[in-house]
Symmetry: D2
Subunit: 469 residues, 4 copies
């Protein structure tokens, strides 16, 4: 446990195993309520200090973290690959993005969006100078998932520190190593002790306490809709950002060149075994292009290399846990029973599920209507553009959607009518750069991340008005 | 009931009485769950229409409403005076502000804060044109209090309509008349039928349904902390803005001229019998000025005229309900028992409580630590500036604070250290113009009102990205 | 002359004649240098008053002007039709836009873009609160053209008054009546006397003086490039906005429906006899669509009705002056001599030139490379998209361009590569709404109009920094 | 000469001498018109490349430059000290700021202020998606002064490169070494060849050509008012930013602690021999504080160490040229003749003028009304606050002003009424951090620097509107 800038021996310890080969990789602390309390207390003590810290110092600390990760790129990537079974090439990509995320946070630290208010715009407001400061909200409790153990942590720590808030971080139980590693880098980067605390453990203990403790001002959570809603309903007047799941879709119009997008679709569907919130799960392709698309996708999928995440050649490895594997196999089975056809994949290969393309899928099957979070993509067809849009919208989720078309009117119609947080014209829904606003509608969550947007959710507006005589 | 643009006969009816003389003034509908449902359904049907409506049409409708109120000023003021026992002069002031609030909403309708995103700021984002649209969130459920029956309704309807959302409005049970009146004006102003629905009734029926119905996207509530928290914990992933109470304070430094501020303090403490969220409740005055302040305040208070709200001369009238009168008398009694001294007031005069100044108050007395919402102000002293700030902060609330000083360093220290949503230098905490950000910290709520700020809370960001080849 | 809020008898008077029938329509003052001086002095005296005027008062004055024009719509339209020979239907359109322009100015008056500066973003800036005010620059000299005698005046008076600057207006010598009319409305609307002065007369006297007088801070000019450059080179450190000419072009791709755009093109080319800065002058159509386009345009053009501007049926009337008629005829003759072919038009009909379509035009002909400012449009073809863009860019001007295409990549390529101030995808270059940024590159000018953009050019940033101990 | 990314042997060469000891320090090129031409041509060729370069690449180049300067801090400082006779400690301070300036430019490169336009805010604008891009204006000609040879160059190169413009830089003839040094660092940092060209030589040749060449789009000049106005009057439609001189003033109220500000005043008046645009030249102190102020300033001034700029101990060294020394001595003489009294200084000491305090100064003396640009400060008194403000305003210049007061109303009055580009409450006018808006009114220039503000002056707004069917 990293509390108050010190490494604390935890009362309880659990073993951590590799998702790929089941080997034990570390022992990690399972915090008690008392330990969570002391982390919150440590954060509490730094509130004033963090609030008063000049912007350029906050910027420097984050810039230092960015630089330190850059100096330890490979070590970071291997940590991620080990604890999350993320193929090492993909893990390196995550590290590169993490470097950028902290750099962006450094830059935004200088730019808290304070603003003037023209009080004299309304009668009664004459002779006043007024402005609105963005003050740090207070302690931020960050609860992060396993799938981007460094970059999704950066999306919470970056804006929190940038805007002058202390943090208590609860990383996913499967991916604590990179979180503790980052804590160490923040310490080296000059962050005051206590401004970042890392507490691993059970959601029912650590998470529960963070959500209900009155000293915590902001909860920022990335994870499942069930847990997200539960957090929201227990959090009282706290600010809560929830980045939940999705069953992201892409629409492919008839005027496009399939060759130009097949690699991108494969990437969107199978990178990190599809364990990405905005993984391509549903493809809606125009009738006329379906055969070509499925054929070309199958060719590419069959070339994907399954194996050890530490191996440079590996494209796809094991899911994060055996129960996820079982769940996914049962969903595929359900789909097949209901009439879906497996184009390729759908099998166990050691601890891994082979990358899977399904067709003849309908919207009641779990592989379509729920979040698959695994290496499975479904391909359906449409003939009418507005029908394609309706089918994407026929979902409890609304995170991002992709649209391939060369037609101006189709592009704009889709951008208007799709009920999602982000519409990617001529790209997959999986597209994200770390400064864009990111977040969803419906069960996909509430609030937006992307540094400057997350900063909005971690600060409070304070109006200051001077009446001049 | 006003549902789908039609006046609907309600199943249940209750009598409405004057808070001042207890006379029956109207019969009002008490909606059933089915009636609430049909209001939500009516709103649901206009979602698409409202979203597609051009900004200038939304602006025109709101401008029309503003103009129509202007053409019916006196009638509006009399409605408010009747149902809320608000002295007619004060009611006229509220009407003037309401006209401005809708005008500001009209102007903001043209200015939804859509913005560009420079995707190429990070590697991977090259060759993209991207922007963020502010789309209407969906149905807004507005739950409003009795104390500003027109202007606080405007602060919810204005931004909701400006940003293209349909609304279901539940006004306070004591002040439904002005709400129905506004519904009629919106109808005349050209708002599509169904885009505004007004449903009066019990919080446990109407409020409960609005908060839990999945078709509602936004709850905007002004009222008590207890109800506010309950709403928040039942609202799931809905967006929720809560404007709750306060025990607002003002600090008076030693270098100021008491004469210049006494009228303003009286106004802040006793306007509408103190039933204002940001009423002056706690005065902290420098030792050296206390005697002068209390003396001059007492003189002014004793000149205030109590009486019929319809009378032009009346300064102070009855509280909104007999039980509030009883509550307040018991609080004064508690304070006196604990050692407080009544400078003036504290008595019943017909249905009214005489304007009350208390001294020798400590922070454990209800008149200090809870929200008084009545014609009572406490005066305490301080000798040290930072001590004054600490005592203002020693509260569960944090809405606005006033600070009178001529000293630059005192002014800025206060503006930084006061834990409130708004600091008014050289003014009372009661100051508000309708376009400034307004809202509190701690138990005073979450979110900000003030048209453009409220619009943020009623819209969702949608990112649209075009990848260019 | 309207100076210091008074109607001043001028020393010199000239007769004003109708461009259509040559009848005398009024006598107008021709100001002497002394009279210009006294106008500047009158403006000077109101500088302080205008700077201190609360935003809501400035907003109200402009709102009043907007309303007063609305109440005198037909009179305004007839004034314009009379002095400018603008067909009455078109004049009514201008009046409607003028109402909107002043309304937008009213709204922007409340929104001067003051902003905070986070001083602590750099070392040395700690412990400071700082902001940037937009203060009025000082006296604005507005020099306006004949072609939109009300709305282009509004685009200078609106932002000037909105941002607290006094104005000296020199309208075009042919269109003084509407300018004096507006001066009267501003007076009625409550503008302080002296804050708006109208001085008609010779450019060499009035214009020259305004440009060189040290008391004038801003020149805003709409007119010819020659005069514009001359102003710029004499204006010293004054701020200067120049809205000069153009030979606007539109590109028509092969995938479009000609029927949907023919009316719009005719409108763009011949409205007000083509005397519009962004009139459609050059059409570049894909080879495959040329024949259809020319045929359909000819049909429509031949139906246009020439005649008295006061007649509701008139589409096209006389040019502003006989010498313009002669110039244009000589340009057409030059083009024909060099090989151009007249599809239709090119003839005198009473005082009017018949609406003219030319083909076989090359870029050296004056009808192509200079600003035609008359009822002439040229049609050329292209086969390659990038070639079409190059040919639009092969111009000394760069105001706006239109692009009709249904192809996403063509649309974005054009938007990036066209060297103009505004690219209108699927519209004519003539498109303008009054709040959009409007202005050109190259010889088309410098600076942008469109209320809030013009306000930027009429205000100075003042940084205010408070160092806190 | 550095042209097109190559080091070019110049036709003409001149010797460069040390301002301190007159030793020859280098030979520098004096460019011919042909050489200037080829620099412009080289820049022209990179326009397209620079415009299309992704923001993150522009950011990286500038970040690299910032880092490279950091790695060569001492060398940079010694270059400045050598060519400009800037005391080495002060030179080191300039280098530190230069590092920050390029870093800020790097960050702003990612943030070009593109924005959306809500076209549907006015009738006629329905069904449109529109935005405004900030496109690079084209070639920027940067003409820089001797006094901050690195940081004022950075204030032109930084924003120019950040916004995608190629540059031709003409540094001051006395300080070319650091300019060529920076050119080399930009080359190493990855800037495309030709995007930065450095041409030294005569203003009548190099400057003249840059100002009049049609291929140049932006002139950004820091220097004297005479040259500035001349540039403006020759530059035609080019955008021109002028940062000219000032005779900056500070007001000292009666309620302040002199001890807390004396060091700061000395620093403001004598740093780099007063050769700073915002050097403290005029002090207006309240009568009651004058004696104390002058006494304490004299004590400090007499401790200042004059000497070799390369010496760590040196506070003040020689002026930039013998003719400046002569000019300044004659101004002091004029002042004394007219009745001024020398408190201290006013003598030659080797090549240096001793730091000088003057009292009994009136506003007609050159040391008061013109820009002193040397180690001379005048002290005058006032009794009435508004009188002090009037006297500061009684100047042809208006760059920055300082105000020391503890009185809220005095501070705000000064901030409103001072006619300058920046008001520094409780600081000297000499205060500047590199991201704040910086620039003056009146003869102090036009336009603002400070990276993001300079970027506005180096970019053109392009409106792109998509009409949707």
């Amino acid at each position: 446990l990293f509390i108050g800038g010190e490494w604390i021996e935890a009362t309880n310890i659990q073993d951590l195993y590799s998702p790929y080969d089941g080997e034990k990789i570390a022992e990690i602390p399972f915090a008690t309520i008392q330990e969570v309390d002391s982390a919150i207390s440590a954060a509490e003590k730094t509130k004033k200090l963090m609030k008063k810290m000049p912007a350029h110092e906050r910027a420097d600390i984050l810039d230092n973290v960015s630089r330190l990760i850059g100096e330890n790129r490979e070590e970071c990537a291997r940590l991620i690959a080990t604890e999350a079974a993320k193929p090492i090439q993909t893990a390196r990509g995550e590290v590169a993005r993490t470097i950028m995320t902290y750099k962006l946070a450094s830059e935004e630290a200088r730019r808290l969006p304070n603003e003037m208010v023209n009080m004299d715009a309304a009668p009664g407001g004459e002779n006043r100078t007024a402005y609105v400061l963005r003050e740090p909200s207070g302690i931020v409790a960050a609860i992060t998932p396993f799938n981007f153990p460094m970059n999704l942590v950066a999306h919470k720590l970056g804006p929190a520190i940038a805007s002058g808030n202390p943090v208590v971080l609860k990383p996913a139980s499967q991916t604590p190593l990179s979180a503790y590693y980052i804590a160490d880098l923040f310490d080296k980067a000059g962050l005051p002790k206590g401004a970042l605390n890392v507490v691993t453990g059970a959601g029912s203990v650590v998470g529960e306490r963070l959500v209900t403790d009155d000293r915590v001002s902001v909860i920022t959570f990335t994870g499942s809709p069930e847990v997200g809603k539960d957090i929201r309903n227990k959090a009282g007047l706290k600010k809560v950002t929830l980045e939940l799941g999705s069953n992201s879709a892409v629409i492919i119009d008839k005027d496009v060149h399939i060759d130009e997008m097949v690699d991108r679709l494969i990437q969107g569907a199978f990178t990190y075994q599809g364990q990405v919130c905005i993984s391509v799960q549903r493809i809606y392709v125009h009738d006329s292009k379906k055969r070509e698309l499925v054929k070309k996708m199958k060719e590419k999928v069959d070339q994907l290399i399954l194996g050890d995440p530490m191996d440079d050649a590996t494209d796809v490895s094991a899911l994060i846990a055996p129960k996820e594997r079982d769940r996914l196999l049962s969903w595929i089975e359900e789909a097949v029973t209901k009439g879906a056809k497996i184009v390729t994949g759908g099998e166990l290969k050691g601890p891994m599920i082979t990358p899977t393309i399904l067709e003849n899928v309908d919207s009641t099957m779990k592989v379509s209507c729920e979040e698959v979070f695994g290496p499975v993509v479904t391909v359906s067809t449409f003939s009418d553009w507005s029908d394609a849009i309706d089918r994407v919208n026929d979902s409890d989720y609304g995170l991002q959607a992709g649209v391939y078309t060369e037609k101006l009117s189709h592009a704009f119609t889709a951008s208007e009518d799709l009920e999602v947080g982000g519409v990617m014209i001529n790209d997959i829904p999986t597209f994200r750069v770390d400064h864009m606003p990111y977040g969803g509608l419906k069960n996909s969550g509430t609030g937006r991340e992307g540094i400057k947007y997350a900063i909005e959710e971690m600060t409070e507006r304070k109006l200051v008005s001077f009446k001049l005589s």
